[in-house]
């Protein structure tokens, strides 16, 4: 796959939030307004790209048995560096993100890309993957943030759109985020299904993106428990 394709896949085809459904905690928590979403997205993009780069470089040196702890240490280092830099040079963004900034360490998008991509691919491809995935994450956070902020407070990036001051308060909180994200995921499935129908095929999400490759489900489907 070309470097360009690795970069662009994060925006739609393998979008970390809309397709891989990863990193739900920061997605719902920091998409309550557009500025917060943008700050979180950019911080995560930096960590994703940096950790992907380093992990790609050390992938052949790291023994398989301790790869996960090594990756976590690399990711935690990047997060700490981002945290210190933001605290020093962007204190407002640092305070806006609060606890969610150090929690990038446990964002499953970052570890997921390290394990699924950077540990198996070269430097350039890993950097392109990290940047693309990070920007895809940022794109979704900003879109969600814009919609939620507009519905909750009638503003976009803090600027009043002069339509309402008291909007749908629930959209500013986590339940509103869940509802909106659910609607967007449903809309995305609908689009993909229509596309497949036009092409004359049955829509099947790629196997590696859902739980079909997970053996836990098979425990119940292959040998169903017989009840009298």
């Amino acid at each position: 796959m070309s470097i360009f394709k690795e970069f662009t896949k994060g925006f739609w085809k393998e979008n970390p939030v809309l397709v891989l459904v990863l990193g739900m905690c920061p997605t719902l928590a920091t998409s309550s307004d557009a500025v917060k979403g943008l700050a979180m997205g950019l911080a995560t993009t930096f960590v994703l790209m940096g950790s992907n780069l380093v992990i790609s470089v050390i992938r052949k040196l790291v023994p398989g048995k301790i790869r996960i702890p090594c990756y976590i240490v690399v990711i935690a280092t990047f997060v700490t560096v981002v945290k210190l830099l933001m605290q020093a040079f962007a204190p407002e963004a640092y305070q806006t993100l609060g606890i969610f900034l150090p929690l990038i360490v446990v964002n499953c998008i970052v570890l997921g890309r390290a394990e699924a991509f950077a540990s198996k691919n070269g430097l350039l491809a890993s950097a392109a993957d990290g940047l693309g995935m990070g920007l895809g994450f940022t794109f979704v956070l900003v879109c969600l943030g814009c919609i939620r902020e507009f519905l909750a407070a009638g503003t976009l990036f803090g600027i009043s759109m002069q339509c309402w001051d008291n909007g749908f308060a629930i959209m500013g909180q986590a339940p509103g985020g869940f509802i909106l994200l659910g609607l967007i995921l449903a809309g995305m499935n609908l689009l993909n299904m229509r596309k497949a129908k036009k092409a004359g095929v049955k829509y099947e999400p790629p196997a590696e993106f859902d739980c079909r490759h997970c053996s836990i489900c098979k425990l119940s489907t292959e040998e169903p428990v017989k009840t009298k």
Partner: protein, 219 residues
């Protein structure tokens, strides 16, 4: 130790992890040292800017002369004293209380007699946008038509906030203020309580500090 290089040797694995942690510690330590001064400068700037906004003109450095006091409820409060020509022109007290999304920290300025002048809530709180922020934020209200017309906000004035401005001129009594005394925003009771509590802690701490200072002077 002949299998030292094998990836399954626990000693090698431990050694490798130690090296990774060592390198990571070094990177973090260098960043921490390099960013230490800018972080302190940024924190000092935020406090200094806030104090300049809410206190009358002063010629001393209130942030450098700040003292830690405790409110009668046992909450820690930082007290800043603004002086001009050696005379006290006002006080500012920094306190924090629980809101809806965690701690809400703020600075309250007082006239020399302990009357509340201005209340500001520090950025970094996690109150709900659009609801809780109505109680906490003095955000400049820019509308889309201002942006189109190119109207710039007046940076010299503190933007109004009905809830925060309702404390102006008040002095703490025997009981905490309720929604009948100050402006509570409906739907944002927790945020309103948080701001009320932080102002209460600051005001009662300043009252106790002034009373103690008066007693000392009388002696």
């Amino acid at each position: 130790m002949k299998d030292m290089t094998k990836a399954s040797n626990p000693f090698y694995l431990a050694f490798f992890l130690l090296v990774v942690c060592g390198v990571s510690t070094l990177v973090m330590a260098v960043t921490a040292v390099k960013t230490d001064a800018p972080i302190k400068a940024a924190q000092a700037k935020e406090t200094a800017d806030s104090l300049k906004m809410i206190l009358p003109p002063f010629d001393n450095d209130p942030a450098a002369e700040a003292i830690d006091i405790t409110s009668p409820d046992g909450e820690p409060v930082k007290l800043y004293t603004a002086k001009n020509g050696g005379l006290v022109v006002g006080y500012a007290a920094e306190a924090a209380a629980s809101g809806f999304g965690g701690k809400v920290a703020g600075i309250v300025s007082f006239k020399p007699d302990g009357t509340i002048d201005t209340v500001i809530v520090k950025s970094g709180h996690a109150e709900t946008p659009g609801i809780g922020t109505k109680v906490t934020d003095r955000s400049v209200k820019r509308t889309i038509s201002d942006v189109v017309k190119g109207v710039k906000p007046d940076a010299s004035k503190l933007p109004p906030n009905d809830a925060l401005d309702s404390y102006k001129g008040k002095k703490p009594g025997d009981e905490k203020w309720t929604k009948n005394d100050v402006h509570f925003v409906s739907g944002a009771t927790y945020s309103s309580n948080g701001v009320r509590d932080l102002v209460w802690y600051a005001a009662t701490a300043v009252r106790a500090h002034l009373a103690a200072a008066e007693k000392k002077e009388a002696k």
